[in-house]
Protein backbone atom coordinates (compact mmCIF):
# COMPACT_ATOMS: atom_id res chain seq x y z
CA UNK A 1 0.00 0.00 0.00
CA UNK A 2 1.54 3.34 -0.94
CA UNK A 3 1.42 6.27 1.44
CA UNK A 4 2.42 9.55 -0.14
CA UNK A 5 2.38 12.73 1.87
CA UNK A 6 0.83 15.92 0.57
CA UNK A 7 3.18 18.85 0.02
CA UNK A 8 4.02 20.52 3.30
CA UNK A 9 4.20 24.28 3.47
CA UNK A 10 5.58 24.48 6.98
CA UNK A 11 2.11 24.62 8.52
CA UNK A 12 0.50 21.72 10.34
CA UNK A 13 1.90 18.28 9.54
CA UNK A 14 0.81 16.94 6.18
CA UNK A 15 -1.99 14.42 6.14
CA UNK A 16 -0.86 11.13 4.57
CA UNK A 17 -2.69 10.24 1.35
CA UNK A 18 -3.54 6.56 0.96
CA UNK A 19 -4.82 4.66 -2.05
CA UNK A 20 -7.04 2.44 0.10
CA UNK A 21 -10.62 1.75 -1.05
CA UNK A 22 -12.52 0.76 2.11
CA UNK A 23 -15.62 -0.03 0.02
CA UNK A 24 -14.01 -2.63 -2.25
CA UNK A 25 -14.75 -6.34 -2.02
CA UNK A 26 -11.04 -7.07 -1.54
CA UNK A 27 -11.08 -4.83 1.54
CA UNK A 28 -14.27 -6.39 2.95
CA UNK A 29 -12.76 -9.86 2.61
CA UNK A 30 -9.97 -9.00 5.04
CA UNK A 31 -10.02 -5.43 6.35
CA UNK A 32 -7.61 -5.99 9.25
CA UNK A 33 -4.21 -5.53 7.54
CA UNK A 34 -5.53 -2.33 5.95
CA UNK A 35 -6.91 -1.15 9.31
CA UNK A 36 -3.31 -1.44 10.59
CA UNK A 37 -2.06 0.65 7.68
CA UNK A 38 -4.75 3.28 8.24
CA UNK A 39 -4.07 3.54 11.99
CA UNK A 40 -0.30 3.60 11.62
CA UNK A 41 -0.24 6.15 8.80
CA UNK A 42 -1.34 8.96 11.12
CA UNK A 43 -4.03 10.40 13.35
CA UNK A 44 -5.90 11.56 10.24
CA UNK A 45 -5.49 10.21 6.70
CA UNK A 46 -6.84 11.20 3.31
CA UNK A 47 -8.34 8.62 0.97
CA UNK A 48 -7.77 9.74 -2.63
CA UNK A 49 -10.14 7.17 -4.06
CA UNK A 50 -13.20 8.96 -2.63
CA UNK A 51 -11.71 12.34 -1.62
CA UNK A 52 -12.49 11.96 2.06
CA UNK A 53 -10.59 12.20 5.31
CA UNK A 54 -10.41 9.11 7.47
CA UNK A 55 -9.83 8.37 11.15
CA UNK A 56 -9.02 4.84 12.31
CA UNK A 57 -7.44 5.27 15.73
CA UNK A 58 -9.66 5.01 18.79
CA UNK A 59 -8.83 8.47 20.15
CA UNK A 60 -9.73 10.33 16.95
CA UNK A 61 -12.82 8.23 16.21
CA UNK A 62 -14.05 8.86 19.75
CA UNK A 63 -13.26 12.59 19.45
CA UNK A 64 -15.17 12.95 16.16
CA UNK A 65 -18.18 11.06 17.54
CA UNK A 66 -18.24 13.34 20.56
CA UNK A 67 -18.04 16.69 18.75
CA UNK A 68 -21.29 16.78 16.78
CA UNK A 69 -21.21 20.58 16.43
CA UNK A 70 -18.04 20.35 14.34
CA UNK A 71 -18.61 16.92 12.80
CA UNK A 72 -22.25 17.06 11.84
CA UNK A 73 -24.69 14.36 10.75
CA UNK A 74 -27.30 16.52 9.00
CA UNK A 75 -25.26 16.54 5.79
CA UNK A 76 -25.52 12.75 5.73
CA UNK A 77 -23.62 9.97 7.52
CA UNK A 78 -22.71 8.36 4.21
CA UNK A 79 -20.40 9.65 1.48
CA UNK A 80 -23.11 11.73 -0.15
CA UNK A 81 -23.13 15.36 1.05
CA UNK A 82 -26.77 16.43 1.40
CA UNK A 83 -25.74 20.03 0.88
CA UNK A 84 -24.64 19.15 -2.65
CA UNK A 85 -26.74 16.10 -3.48
CA UNK A 86 -30.37 15.21 -2.89
CA UNK A 87 -30.60 12.28 -0.42
CA UNK A 88 -31.70 9.02 -2.11
CA UNK A 89 -34.61 8.83 0.37
CA UNK A 90 -36.18 11.43 2.68
CA UNK A 91 -33.52 12.27 5.26
CA UNK A 92 -33.64 10.45 8.61
CA UNK A 93 -35.00 12.62 11.43
CA UNK A 94 -32.60 11.14 13.96
CA UNK A 95 -29.52 9.59 12.34
CA UNK A 96 -29.12 12.39 9.82
CA UNK A 97 -30.05 15.27 12.15
CA UNK A 98 -28.14 17.63 14.45
CA UNK A 99 -29.23 19.27 17.70
CA UNK A 100 -31.64 20.79 18.48
CA UNK A 101 -33.76 18.82 15.95
CA UNK A 102 -32.01 15.58 16.91
CA UNK A 103 -32.55 16.13 20.64
CA UNK A 104 -36.32 16.04 20.26
CA UNK A 105 -36.62 12.94 18.06
CA UNK A 106 -33.93 11.14 20.02
CA UNK A 107 -35.86 11.65 23.26
CA UNK A 108 -38.86 9.92 21.69
CA UNK A 109 -36.95 6.83 20.55
CA UNK A 110 -34.95 6.65 23.82
CA UNK A 111 -38.21 6.44 25.71
CA UNK A 112 -39.70 3.82 23.36
CA UNK A 113 -36.57 1.63 23.74
CA UNK A 114 -35.75 2.37 27.41
CA UNK A 115 -34.45 -0.04 30.05
CA UNK A 116 -37.96 -0.08 31.53
CA UNK A 117 -39.40 -1.28 28.21
CA UNK A 118 -36.65 -3.92 27.97
CA UNK A 119 -37.80 -5.38 31.29
CA UNK A 120 -41.27 -5.77 29.77
CA UNK A 121 -40.10 -7.61 26.62
CA UNK A 122 -37.33 -9.67 28.21
CA UNK A 123 -39.41 -12.78 28.96
CA UNK A 124 -40.85 -12.83 25.45
CA UNK A 125 -37.41 -12.47 23.85
CA UNK A 126 -35.99 -15.20 26.12
CA UNK A 127 -38.84 -17.62 25.38
CA UNK A 128 -38.34 -17.14 21.64
CA UNK A 129 -34.62 -17.86 22.08
CA UNK A 130 -35.43 -21.19 23.74
CA UNK A 131 -37.83 -22.03 20.91
CA UNK A 132 -35.17 -21.24 18.33
CA UNK A 133 -32.69 -23.54 20.11
CA UNK A 134 -35.39 -26.29 20.17
CA UNK A 135 -35.60 -26.05 16.40
CA UNK A 136 -31.82 -26.06 15.98
CA UNK A 137 -31.41 -29.08 18.27
CA UNK A 138 -33.88 -30.86 16.03
CA UNK A 139 -31.73 -30.11 12.97
CA UNK A 140 -28.22 -30.60 14.41
CA UNK A 141 -26.60 -29.50 11.11
CA UNK A 142 -27.66 -26.20 9.59
CA UNK A 143 -26.54 -22.84 8.25
CA UNK A 144 -26.13 -20.55 11.27
CA UNK A 145 -26.80 -17.38 9.28
CA UNK A 146 -30.35 -17.97 7.97
CA UNK A 147 -31.36 -20.51 10.63
CA UNK A 148 -30.02 -18.68 13.68
CA UNK A 149 -28.63 -15.16 13.10
CA UNK A 150 -31.59 -14.19 10.90
CA UNK A 151 -34.30 -16.49 12.21
CA UNK A 152 -34.02 -15.42 15.83
CA UNK A 153 -34.34 -11.63 15.39
CA UNK A 154 -37.03 -12.22 12.75
CA UNK A 155 -39.00 -14.23 15.32
CA UNK A 156 -39.21 -11.32 17.76
CA UNK A 157 -38.30 -7.91 16.37
CA UNK A 158 -41.04 -7.47 13.74
CA UNK A 159 -43.64 -8.52 16.33
CA UNK A 160 -42.13 -6.20 18.93
CA UNK A 161 -42.50 -3.36 16.43
CA UNK A 162 -46.07 -4.43 15.67
CA UNK A 163 -45.58 -5.15 11.97
CA UNK A 164 -48.16 -6.95 9.86
CA UNK A 165 -47.34 -10.56 9.00
CA UNK A 166 -47.41 -9.84 5.27
CA UNK A 167 -44.38 -8.43 3.50
CA UNK A 168 -41.76 -9.08 6.15
CA UNK A 169 -39.50 -10.58 3.47
CA UNK A 170 -38.73 -6.97 2.49
CA UNK A 171 -37.14 -6.14 5.86
CA UNK A 172 -33.63 -7.51 5.40
CA UNK A 173 -33.32 -6.39 1.75
CA UNK A 174 -34.46 -2.90 2.77
CA UNK A 175 -31.92 -2.68 5.59
CA UNK A 176 -29.18 -3.99 3.34
CA UNK A 177 -30.11 -1.26 0.85
CA UNK A 178 -29.95 1.45 3.52
CA UNK A 179 -26.52 0.37 4.69
CA UNK A 180 -25.19 0.01 1.14
CA UNK A 181 -26.45 3.49 0.35
CA UNK A 182 -24.11 5.06 2.97
CA UNK A 183 -21.24 3.97 0.74
CA UNK A 184 -19.83 5.58 -2.39
CA UNK A 185 -21.49 5.25 -5.80
CA UNK A 186 -19.99 1.80 -6.40
CA UNK A 187 -21.69 -1.28 -7.82
CA UNK A 188 -23.08 -2.34 -4.44
CA UNK A 189 -24.81 1.01 -3.96
CA UNK A 190 -26.04 1.39 -7.53
CA UNK A 191 -27.50 -2.12 -7.67
CA UNK A 192 -29.17 -1.70 -4.29
CA UNK A 193 -30.83 1.59 -5.23
CA UNK A 194 -31.90 0.30 -8.64
CA UNK A 195 -33.80 -2.56 -7.00
CA UNK A 196 -35.15 -0.49 -4.12
CA UNK A 197 -38.66 0.46 -5.29
CA UNK A 198 -40.66 -2.51 -3.94
CA UNK A 199 -38.83 -2.46 -0.61
CA UNK A 200 -39.37 1.28 -0.19
CA UNK A 201 -43.06 0.91 -0.99
CA UNK A 202 -43.46 -1.78 1.66
CA UNK A 203 -41.57 0.28 4.28
CA UNK A 204 -43.55 3.47 3.55
CA UNK A 205 -46.86 1.66 4.05
CA UNK A 206 -45.69 -0.26 7.10
CA UNK A 207 -44.66 2.95 8.90
CA UNK A 208 -48.23 4.31 8.89
CA UNK A 209 -50.10 4.32 12.16
CA UNK A 210 -52.99 2.13 10.98
CA UNK A 211 -50.55 -0.62 9.97
CA UNK A 212 -48.86 -0.92 13.37
CA UNK A 213 -50.30 -3.18 16.07
CA UNK A 214 -51.21 -1.54 19.41
CA UNK A 215 -48.59 -1.89 22.15
CA UNK A 216 -45.66 -2.32 19.74
CA UNK A 217 -42.65 0.02 19.44
CA UNK A 218 -44.21 1.48 16.27
CA UNK A 219 -47.51 2.34 17.94
CA UNK A 220 -45.60 3.80 20.91
CA UNK A 221 -43.81 6.19 18.55
CA UNK A 222 -47.12 7.29 16.99
CA UNK A 223 -48.58 7.78 20.47
CA UNK A 224 -46.04 10.58 21.05
CA UNK A 225 -47.89 12.56 18.37
CA UNK A 226 -50.89 12.77 20.71
CA UNK A 227 -48.61 14.24 23.40
CA UNK A 228 -47.42 16.90 20.97
CA UNK A 229 -43.78 15.71 21.06
CA UNK A 230 -43.61 14.97 17.34
CA UNK A 231 -45.90 15.67 14.40
CA UNK A 232 -48.00 13.16 12.51
CA UNK A 233 -45.68 13.44 9.52
CA UNK A 234 -42.58 12.82 11.65
CA UNK A 235 -43.83 9.65 13.33
CA UNK A 236 -43.70 7.38 10.25
CA UNK A 237 -40.12 8.48 9.56
CA UNK A 238 -39.08 7.57 13.10
CA UNK A 239 -40.69 4.15 12.71
CA UNK A 240 -38.67 3.87 9.51
CA UNK A 241 -35.48 4.37 11.56
CA UNK A 242 -36.24 1.25 13.55
CA UNK A 243 -37.06 -0.69 10.40
CA UNK A 244 -33.79 0.45 8.82
CA UNK A 245 -31.45 -0.01 11.76
CA UNK A 246 -33.06 -2.55 14.05
CA UNK A 247 -32.92 -5.88 12.25
CA UNK A 248 -29.98 -6.39 9.92
CA UNK A 249 -27.64 -4.94 12.57
CA UNK A 250 -28.64 -7.53 15.14
CA UNK A 251 -28.54 -10.27 12.49
CA UNK A 252 -24.90 -9.37 11.89
CA UNK A 253 -24.25 -8.94 15.61
CA UNK A 254 -25.60 -12.38 16.50
CA UNK A 255 -23.91 -13.85 13.42
CA UNK A 256 -20.61 -12.34 14.60
CA UNK A 257 -21.02 -13.79 18.08
CA UNK A 258 -21.83 -17.30 16.81
CA UNK A 259 -18.93 -17.14 14.37
CA UNK A 260 -16.56 -16.09 17.19
CA UNK A 261 -17.78 -18.78 19.57
CA UNK A 262 -17.52 -21.43 16.83
CA UNK A 263 -14.01 -20.30 15.88
CA UNK A 264 -12.64 -19.99 19.44
CA UNK A 265 -13.62 -23.17 21.34
CA UNK A 266 -11.84 -22.02 24.53
CA UNK A 267 -14.19 -19.02 24.71
CA UNK A 268 -17.17 -21.28 23.99
CA UNK A 269 -16.07 -23.48 26.90
CA UNK A 270 -15.86 -20.47 29.23
CA UNK A 271 -19.37 -19.50 28.22
CA UNK A 272 -20.57 -23.07 28.78
CA UNK A 273 -19.02 -23.01 32.26
CA UNK A 274 -20.69 -19.69 33.09
CA UNK A 275 -23.65 -18.76 30.86
CA UNK A 276 -24.03 -15.46 32.73
CA UNK A 277 -21.14 -14.31 30.52
CA UNK A 278 -23.53 -14.39 27.54
CA UNK A 279 -24.20 -10.67 27.57
CA UNK A 280 -20.52 -9.77 27.57
CA UNK A 281 -19.75 -12.45 24.97
CA UNK A 282 -22.18 -10.65 22.67
CA UNK A 283 -20.75 -7.22 23.50
CA UNK A 284 -17.23 -8.45 22.83
CA UNK A 285 -18.36 -9.82 19.45
CA UNK A 286 -19.71 -6.36 18.61
CA UNK A 287 -16.29 -4.93 19.46
CA UNK A 288 -14.33 -7.70 17.74
CA UNK A 289 -16.27 -7.83 14.45
CA UNK A 290 -17.93 -4.40 14.50
CA UNK A 291 -21.03 -5.29 12.46
CA UNK A 292 -21.40 -1.59 11.65
CA UNK A 293 -17.93 -0.82 10.26
CA UNK A 294 -18.07 2.83 9.30
CA UNK A 295 -20.03 6.06 9.34
CA UNK A 296 -19.21 9.51 7.95
CA UNK A 297 -19.50 13.00 9.36
CA UNK A 298 -19.20 16.38 7.59
CA UNK A 299 -17.18 19.27 9.04
CA UNK A 300 -19.13 22.45 9.78
CA UNK A 301 -15.93 24.57 10.09
CA UNK A 302 -12.18 24.30 9.75
CA UNK A 303 -10.96 22.12 12.59
CA UNK A 304 -7.74 20.75 14.02
CA UNK A 305 -7.88 17.05 14.79
CA UNK A 306 -4.92 15.04 16.06
CA UNK A 307 -2.59 17.78 14.83
CA UNK A 308 -4.05 17.82 11.32
CA UNK A 309 -6.20 20.59 9.89
CA UNK A 310 -9.41 19.73 8.05
CA UNK A 311 -11.30 22.41 6.15
CA UNK A 312 -15.03 23.16 6.27
CA UNK A 313 -17.46 20.94 4.34
CA UNK A 314 -15.18 17.88 4.28
CA UNK A 315 -16.39 14.33 4.70
CA UNK A 316 -14.67 12.37 7.47
CA UNK A 317 -14.93 8.58 7.48
CA UNK A 318 -14.81 6.96 10.93
CA UNK A 319 -13.49 3.40 10.99
CA UNK A 320 -15.35 2.04 14.01
CA UNK A 321 -14.00 -1.46 13.40
CA UNK A 322 -10.40 -0.21 13.35
CA UNK A 323 -10.92 1.87 16.50
CA UNK A 324 -12.29 -1.19 18.25
CA UNK A 325 -9.01 -3.01 17.61
CA UNK A 326 -6.63 -0.12 18.10
CA UNK A 327 -3.68 -1.43 20.16
CA UNK A 328 -3.33 2.12 21.54
CA UNK A 329 -6.61 1.55 23.37
CA UNK A 330 -7.04 -2.22 23.77
CA UNK A 331 -4.87 -4.98 25.24
CA UNK A 332 -4.60 -7.87 22.80
CA UNK A 333 -7.06 -6.20 20.44
CA UNK A 334 -7.18 -9.16 18.05
CA UNK A 335 -8.22 -11.64 20.74
CA UNK A 336 -11.90 -12.47 21.25
CA UNK A 337 -12.14 -12.55 25.06
CA UNK A 338 -15.61 -12.92 26.56
CA UNK A 339 -14.44 -11.60 29.94
CA UNK A 340 -12.92 -8.44 28.49
CA UNK A 341 -14.00 -5.11 29.92
CA UNK A 342 -15.68 -3.90 26.75
CA UNK A 343 -16.98 -0.59 28.08
CA UNK A 344 -15.95 2.24 25.78
CA UNK A 345 -15.93 0.31 22.48
CA UNK A 346 -17.47 2.24 19.60
CA UNK A 347 -19.31 -0.62 17.89
CA UNK A 348 -22.55 1.15 18.83
CA UNK A 349 -20.98 4.56 18.26
CA UNK A 350 -20.53 7.11 21.07
CA UNK A 351 -21.96 10.48 22.02
CA UNK A 352 -25.37 11.84 21.10
CA UNK A 353 -25.97 9.46 18.16
CA UNK A 354 -24.83 6.34 20.01
CA UNK A 355 -27.15 3.52 19.04
CA UNK A 356 -30.60 4.16 20.44
CA UNK A 357 -31.38 0.44 20.01
CA UNK A 358 -28.35 -0.81 21.92
CA UNK A 359 -30.50 -2.20 24.74
CA UNK A 360 -32.59 -4.18 22.26
CA UNK A 361 -29.45 -5.54 20.60
CA UNK A 362 -27.88 -6.57 23.91
CA UNK A 363 -31.06 -8.20 25.13
CA UNK A 364 -31.34 -10.27 21.93
CA UNK A 365 -27.65 -11.17 22.05
CA UNK A 366 -27.74 -12.12 25.70
CA UNK A 367 -30.79 -14.37 25.64
CA UNK A 368 -29.85 -16.22 22.46
CA UNK A 369 -26.23 -16.87 23.53
CA UNK A 370 -27.37 -17.89 27.00
CA UNK A 371 -29.85 -20.41 25.54
CA UNK A 372 -27.18 -21.81 23.22
CA UNK A 373 -24.60 -22.10 26.01
CA UNK A 374 -26.95 -23.92 28.38
CA UNK A 375 -28.19 -26.45 25.87
CA UNK A 376 -25.39 -27.09 23.40
CA UNK A 377 -22.10 -28.81 24.23
CA UNK A 378 -20.17 -28.19 21.03
CA UNK A 379 -20.32 -26.11 17.86
CA UNK A 380 -18.32 -27.26 14.85
CA UNK A 381 -17.86 -25.35 11.60
CA UNK A 382 -18.51 -27.88 8.84
CA UNK A 383 -18.10 -25.84 5.66
CA UNK A 384 -16.39 -22.75 4.29
CA UNK A 385 -18.01 -19.62 5.78
CA UNK A 386 -19.08 -17.15 3.06
CA UNK A 387 -19.01 -13.41 3.51
CA UNK A 388 -21.90 -11.03 2.67
CA UNK A 389 -20.66 -7.79 1.15
CA UNK A 390 -22.16 -4.46 2.14
CA UNK A 391 -20.76 -0.92 2.14
CA UNK A 392 -21.35 -0.53 5.88
CA UNK A 393 -22.26 -3.87 7.46
CA UNK A 394 -19.78 -6.64 8.13
CA UNK A 395 -21.09 -10.17 8.41
CA UNK A 396 -21.46 -13.59 6.89
CA UNK A 397 -23.83 -14.92 4.26
CA UNK A 398 -23.34 -18.54 5.21
CA UNK A 399 -21.87 -20.40 8.21
CA UNK A 400 -22.47 -24.16 8.04
CA UNK A 401 -22.27 -25.69 11.53
CA UNK A 402 -23.10 -28.88 13.40
CA UNK A 403 -24.08 -28.74 17.07
CA UNK A 404 -23.88 -31.41 19.77
CA UNK A 405 -26.60 -31.30 22.45
CA UNK A 406 -25.47 -30.77 26.04
Amino acid sequence: MSAASSASTGGPPAVPHLDVDPFAVAFFTDPFPTHDVLRDAGTVVYLDKWNVYGVARYAEVHAVLNDPATFCSSRGVGLSDFKKEKPWRPQSLILEADPPAHTRTRAVLSRVLSPTVMKQVRDRFAAAAEERVDVLLGKRSFDAIPDLAEAYPLSIFPDALGLKPEGREHLIPYASLVFNAFGPPNQLRQDAIERSAPHQAYIAAQCQRENLAPGGFGACIHARVDEGEITATEAPLLVRSLLSAGLDTTVNGIGAAVYCLARFPDQWQRLRDDPTLARNAFEEAVRFESPVQTFFRTTTREVELGGAVIGEGEKVLMFLGAANRDPRRWDEPDAYDITRRTSGHVGFGSGIHMCVGQLVARLEGEVILSALARRIARIEITGEPKRRFNNTLRGLDSLPITITPA
Binding site: A107, S110, P115, T116, R341, S343, G344, V356
Partner: protein, 107 residues
Protein backbone atom coordinates in the same frame (compact mmCIF):
# COMPACT_ATOMS: atom_id res chain seq x y z
CA UNK B 1 -6.54 13.18 43.84
CA UNK B 2 -10.04 12.70 45.27
CA UNK B 3 -10.64 9.29 46.81
CA UNK B 4 -13.86 7.31 46.36
CA UNK B 5 -14.99 4.39 48.48
CA UNK B 6 -17.12 1.78 46.74
CA UNK B 7 -19.03 -0.59 49.02
CA UNK B 8 -19.96 -3.82 47.23
CA UNK B 9 -23.35 -5.41 47.81
CA UNK B 10 -21.59 -8.19 49.76
CA UNK B 11 -20.10 -5.62 52.13
CA UNK B 12 -16.43 -5.51 51.11
CA UNK B 13 -15.01 -2.15 50.11
CA UNK B 14 -12.65 -0.72 47.51
CA UNK B 15 -10.91 2.62 47.90
CA UNK B 16 -9.81 4.16 44.65
CA UNK B 17 -8.17 7.38 43.56
CA UNK B 18 -10.11 9.33 40.97
CA UNK B 19 -8.64 11.88 38.62
CA UNK B 20 -10.11 15.34 38.69
CA UNK B 21 -12.79 15.71 36.02
CA UNK B 22 -13.41 12.05 35.31
CA UNK B 23 -16.70 10.46 36.29
CA UNK B 24 -17.09 8.05 39.20
CA UNK B 25 -17.86 5.38 36.57
CA UNK B 26 -14.63 6.11 34.68
CA UNK B 27 -12.61 5.93 37.89
CA UNK B 28 -14.23 2.60 38.77
CA UNK B 29 -13.74 0.97 35.35
CA UNK B 30 -10.18 2.32 35.07
CA UNK B 31 -9.39 0.44 38.28
CA UNK B 32 -11.12 -2.71 37.02
CA UNK B 33 -13.76 -2.58 39.74
CA UNK B 34 -16.42 -5.29 39.55
CA UNK B 35 -19.99 -4.19 40.05
CA UNK B 36 -20.10 -1.38 37.49
CA UNK B 37 -20.67 -2.47 33.89
CA UNK B 38 -21.07 0.85 32.07
CA UNK B 39 -22.22 -0.83 28.87
CA UNK B 40 -22.84 2.46 27.09
CA UNK B 41 -19.44 3.86 28.03
CA UNK B 42 -20.81 6.80 30.00
CA UNK B 43 -23.34 8.18 27.53
CA UNK B 44 -26.29 7.97 29.96
CA UNK B 45 -28.01 5.37 27.81
CA UNK B 46 -27.78 2.02 29.65
CA UNK B 47 -28.31 2.32 33.45
CA UNK B 48 -25.63 -0.33 34.12
CA UNK B 49 -23.49 2.05 36.21
CA UNK B 50 -26.14 2.40 38.95
CA UNK B 51 -24.93 3.32 42.46
CA UNK B 52 -26.52 4.25 45.79
CA UNK B 53 -24.96 7.43 47.11
CA UNK B 54 -24.26 7.41 50.84
CA UNK B 55 -26.73 9.65 52.68
CA UNK B 56 -24.26 12.33 53.72
CA UNK B 57 -23.09 12.85 50.14
CA UNK B 58 -26.37 12.88 48.25
CA UNK B 59 -27.14 16.57 48.64
CA UNK B 60 -23.60 17.52 47.63
CA UNK B 61 -23.92 16.06 44.13
CA UNK B 62 -25.16 18.10 41.20
CA UNK B 63 -28.86 17.59 40.44
CA UNK B 64 -29.75 14.86 37.97
CA UNK B 65 -30.88 15.56 34.42
CA UNK B 66 -34.15 14.21 33.02
CA UNK B 67 -32.49 11.45 31.00
CA UNK B 68 -30.70 10.12 34.08
CA UNK B 69 -33.93 10.22 36.04
CA UNK B 70 -35.81 8.28 33.33
CA UNK B 71 -33.04 5.69 32.95
CA UNK B 72 -32.90 4.97 36.68
CA UNK B 73 -36.51 3.78 36.53
CA UNK B 74 -35.26 0.91 34.37
CA UNK B 75 -32.20 -0.01 36.45
CA UNK B 76 -31.93 -3.73 37.15
CA UNK B 77 -31.73 -3.33 40.93
CA UNK B 78 -34.30 -1.45 42.98
CA UNK B 79 -34.30 2.32 42.60
CA UNK B 80 -34.15 4.24 45.85
CA UNK B 81 -33.95 7.91 46.78
CA UNK B 82 -30.15 7.47 46.80
CA UNK B 83 -29.91 6.06 43.27
CA UNK B 84 -27.67 7.78 40.73
CA UNK B 85 -25.84 6.83 37.55
CA UNK B 86 -22.13 6.92 38.34
CA UNK B 87 -21.25 8.06 34.81
CA UNK B 88 -23.10 11.29 35.56
CA UNK B 89 -21.17 12.00 38.78
CA UNK B 90 -18.23 14.15 37.84
CA UNK B 91 -15.46 13.99 40.40
CA UNK B 92 -14.21 17.29 41.80
CA UNK B 93 -11.90 17.97 44.76
CA UNK B 94 -14.98 18.72 46.90
CA UNK B 95 -16.06 15.10 46.44
CA UNK B 96 -12.93 13.71 48.09
CA UNK B 97 -14.11 10.90 50.37
CA UNK B 98 -17.31 10.15 48.42
CA UNK B 99 -18.96 6.86 49.42
CA UNK B 100 -20.93 4.89 46.82
CA UNK B 101 -22.75 1.61 47.42
CA UNK B 102 -23.06 -0.89 44.58
CA UNK B 103 -26.35 -2.64 43.79
CA UNK B 104 -26.42 -6.45 43.72
CA UNK B 105 -26.94 -6.41 39.96
CA UNK B 106 -26.58 -4.12 36.95
CA UNK B 107 -28.48 -6.15 34.33
Amino acid sequence: MPAITFIHSGGNTDHIEASDGESAMQAATRHGLDGILAECGGNAMCATCHVYVDDGWLARLPAMADDEDALLDGAAAERTANSRLSCQIKITPELDGLVLRLPERQV
